[in-house]
C-alpha cells in the first residue's frame, strides 16, 4: 500500500473505532493515539502474519501490552481477515464471546491476553529469546503505554532484553504523555524516558510525530536493519488523535462516547480528514 492508501486506512479505522466505542464502550482515546503505529506495523510489510493460519510458525509476534487499547487491534485483525467485521461488531463486549474489553488471546491473531500493565515486554522477551534459540529471523513487537513505563517489571524486562542481546525485539511506546487520570508529568518526568531506555542498553529511536506514518515506517526499517541491541521507538503521539474534543484531555481515557457527544466527535473526525 502506498502512503496515501495507508492514511486512508487510518481514517477508516478511526471511524470504525468511534462507531464501536459509541455502541459498546471502550478506551477510545488510547486507541486513537496508536492508529498510525499499528497501521505502520500491519500494513507496511515490516511484519509477517497469516490470517488464514494465525499460529503459522513463520509469523512475527505482536504483543499489545497496553491491553486496554484493544478495540483498534480487533478492528485491524478483522480488516486483515483474521475474522469478519460483522463477527467482531456483533460480538464485541458480549457475554460468552472472546472480544473482551482488554485484549484476549482467544481471539484469532492475538498472541497474549493483557490488561494489567507491565506484563507484555517480559512475555515478548521470552518469545524473542526462544526465536534466538531457534535461530530464525522472526520479530517480536511489543506496544506499550508511557504510563506503563513506570512499572518496575518493564525495567526488569528491559534489562533482560539488552543483556541477552535481543535485537529481534522492538518495543513501541505510545508516548502520548497522558495516563489514566492525568498527565504523566504528575507522577514521572517524561523528559527522562529516553535516557532511561538508553541507560538500559537499548537502541532508542525518538519519533517526533508518532502519528506520522512516514516517520514510523522509517523507524521500523531501522529496527529491522539493527543487528546489535533491542530497539525502542518512542512515538510521540496525541491521545485521542483525530477527534479534537478528545485530544490531550485525560478525562477521555475512560469517559464514554454517548448520544450527547457522538455527533460532535463524528464531525471532529470527518473534519480532521480534510
Amino acid at each position: 500500500m502506498n502512503i496515501n492508501s495507508l492514511k486512508k486506512k487510518c481514517q477508516d479505522l478511526r471511524l470504525k473505532n468511534l462507531d464501536i466505542c459509541y455502541k459498546s464502550g471502550g478506551h477510545i482515546s488510547t486507541c486513537l493515539s496508536t492508529v498510525e503505529i499499528l497501521v505502520g506495523i500491519y500494513y507496511s510489510r515490516v511484519f509477517k502474519f497469516n490470517p488464514k493460519k494465525p499460529k503459522d510458525s513463520n509469523r512475527d509476534y505482536f504483543i499489545l501490552s497496553k491491553g486496554h487499547g484493544c478495540e483498534i487491534v480487533y478492528l485491524i485483525l478483522a480488516d486483515l481477515g483474521f475474522y469478519s467485521n460483522n463477527y467482531f461488531n456483533n460480538n464485541y463486549r458480549k457475554n460468552n464471546f472472546d472480544f473482551a474489553g482488554h485484549i484476549n488471546s482467544k481471539v484469532n491473531g492475538v498472541e497474549f491476553s493483557s490488561g494489567s500493565l507491565g506484563h507484555g515486554l517480559g512475555f515478548g522477551s521470552g518469545i524473542a529469546l526462544s526465536n534466538k534459540f531457534k535461530k530464525n529471523n522472526l520479530k517480536t513487537i511489543v506496544l506499550m503505554g508511557d504510563a506503563e513505563c513506570t512499572a518496575g517489571s518493564v525495567w526488569e524486562a528491559a534489562n533482560f532484553c539488552s543483556f541477552n542481546n535481543l535485537n529481534n525485539i522492538l518495543t513501541v511506546v505510545d508516548f502520548n504523555k497522558i495516563g489514566a487520570t492525568e498527565n504523566i508529568s504528575s507522577f514521572s518526568d517524561p523528559k527522562l524516558l529516553e535516557k532511561k531506555w538508553v541507560s538500559f542498553g537499548w537502541n532508542v529511536i525518538n519519533v517526533e510525530d508518532g502519528n506520522d506514518l512516514n516517520s514510523l515506517i522509517k523507524a521500523y526499517k531501522k529496527f529491522v536493519n539493527n543487528k546489535n541491541k533491542p530497539t525502542v521507538i518512542l512515538a510521540n503521539t496525541i491521545k485521542g488523535k483525530g477527534i479534537k474534543m478528545l485530544e490531550n484531555d485525560p478525562i477521555w481515557h475512560t469517559k464514554q462516547i454517548d448520544n450527547t457527544n457522538y455527533e460532535k466527535a463524528l464531525k471532529d473526525l470527518q473534519n480532521s480528514f480534510k
Binding site: F112, S113, G115, L121, G122, F123, G124, E156, A157
Partner: protein
C-alpha cells in the same frame, strides 16, 4: 525399623535426575533468580546457554518463562519458594494460568525450611495463594523419590506445576507406607485416628514413630495438594477423628483444601487443624522452636490426639 537417608538434598537429586532428560530434550531450560545448587552447577557446565540466571527479577522470570513456553520451550523456574510465589503472583496468574502455558516452578524452602533466615524466607502462605488459581497443580513431596518422575516434567500439564521442596538430607520413607500413589500415601495403624500432613512434617512424624515405636494414629501423606485427590475421602471416612497438621497457615492451606473437598461431597467428619498461629507465624528461630511456638511439634500432635 532402620532409618535410611538420602545422600543428597531433594533439589540435587532432582537435578541429577534432570540432567539425562535435558541431554535428550533440548527444549528444557532452567531459569533462576541468582539461586544455585551443587548439581545445578554441573548442568550449567554442560548446558551454559540453557541455564539462564535472570537476577532478582521474579516478575520478569515468570513472564519470560511464559513467553518461552508459548513458543514451545519447557522452562523450569528455580527459586526460593516464597520469592517466586509472592512477588510474582500476578505474573503467575495472568501469564501462566490464564494463558494455560506449561511452566514448572522448582522451589526450595517449603514452610520453615529456611527457619533461621526469618519470615522473608519462610513459605508459610504459598499454598494459600496458589490455591486460588485455575490451571495450577501443587506438589509437596515429603521425600526425594516423589519428584524423580518423568510425569512431573513432561510439560503436558497446561498451566503451573509448583514443586515445593524441602532442604537437607531427608530420610527414605517409601517402605513406610502401605498405600503409595502419585497423589497421596497412607499407613493404617490406628483404627480411629488419622493424622494428615504433607512435606517436612511427614518426615518429623515418621521419625518420631520410628524412634518411639508408638503408633497411636494412622498417617496420610498428601503429595499432590492441588488438585487434591478425591480418593482420600474413602480413607478419611474410615476414621472417627482426623487431624490435619501443616507448616503453613490454616487459611487456604491443606486444612482448608481438605475441608472444602469434604464439604463439596457432603461428608461430615470430626476434623481439626494444627497449623501456624497468627501470633507466631513470623517468628525467628530454629525449626524445632518454630514448631513448638506454633504447636505443630510432635508433642502438640500427640496432645491433640
Amino acid at each position: 525399623m532402620k532409618i535410611q537417608k538420602y545422600t543428597k538434598d531433594m533439589r540435587d537429586d532432582f537435578f541429577d535426575f534432570l540432567l539425562p532428560i535435558m541431554e535428550k530434550d533440548n527444549m528444557i531450560l532452567i531459569i533462576t533468580n541468582d539461586y544455585g545448587a551443587p548439581m545445578l552447577d554441573l548442568i550449567k557446565k554442560k548446558f551454559p546457554k540453557r541455564c539462564i540466571n535472570c537476577g532478582i527479577t521474579e516478575q520478569n522470570i515468570v513472564s519470560v518463562s511464559a513467553g518461552l513456553a508459548y513458543n514451545g520451550y519447557k522452562p523450569i523456574i528455580y527459586s526460593i519458594s516464597t520469592f517466586i510465589t509472592l512477588r510474582s503472583f500476578e505474573q503467575i496468574k495472568l501469564d501462566i494460568s490464564v494463558m494455560k502455558l506449561p511452566v514448572v516452578i522448582l522451589s526450595v524452602g517449603a514452610g520453615y525450611a529456611y527457619s533461621m533466615d526469618g519470615p522473608t524466607h519462610h513459605a508459610t502462605d504459598d499454598i494459600a495463594i496458589l490455591n486460588t488459581l485455575s490451571n495450577c497443580r501443587i506438589i509437596s513431596p515429603s521425600e526425594n523419590s516423589l519428584i524423580l518422575k518423568k510425569s512431573i516434567i513432561n510439560f503436558k500439564f497446561k498451566g503451573l506445576t509448583y514443586l515445593r521442596l524441602d532442604r537437607g538430607k531427608l530420610q527414605k520413607l517409601s517402605n513406610f507406607f502401605d498405600y503409595n500413589s502419585n497423589t497421596f500415601r497412607f499407613k493404617k495403624v490406628h483404627k480411629n485416628i488419622l493424622v494428615i500432613s504433607t512435606g517436612f512434617l511427614i518426615q518429623e512424624i515418621t521419625k518420631s514413630i520410628q524412634d518411639s515405636n508408638i503408633f497411636s494414629f494412622s498417617l496420610m501423606d498428601i503429595v499432590q495438594i492441588k488438585p487434591i485427590d478425591k480418593k482420600i475421602i474413602t480413607y478419611i471416612k474410615m476414621f472417627k477423628k482426623v487431624i490435619i497438621v501443616e507448616e503453613h497457615i490454616a487459611e487456604g492451606g491443606l486444612f482448608t483444601i481438605i475441608q472444602s473437598l469434604l464439604n463439596k461431597n457432603n461428608i461430615k467428619s470430626n476434623i481439626s487443624s494444627l497449623s501456624l498461629l497468627q501470633s507466631s507465624t513470623y517468628n525467628y528461630g530454629d525449626r524445632d522452636m518454630l514448631h513448638r511456638h506454633n504447636k505443630i511439634d510432635i508433642k502438640s500432635i500427640l496432645g491433640a490426639i
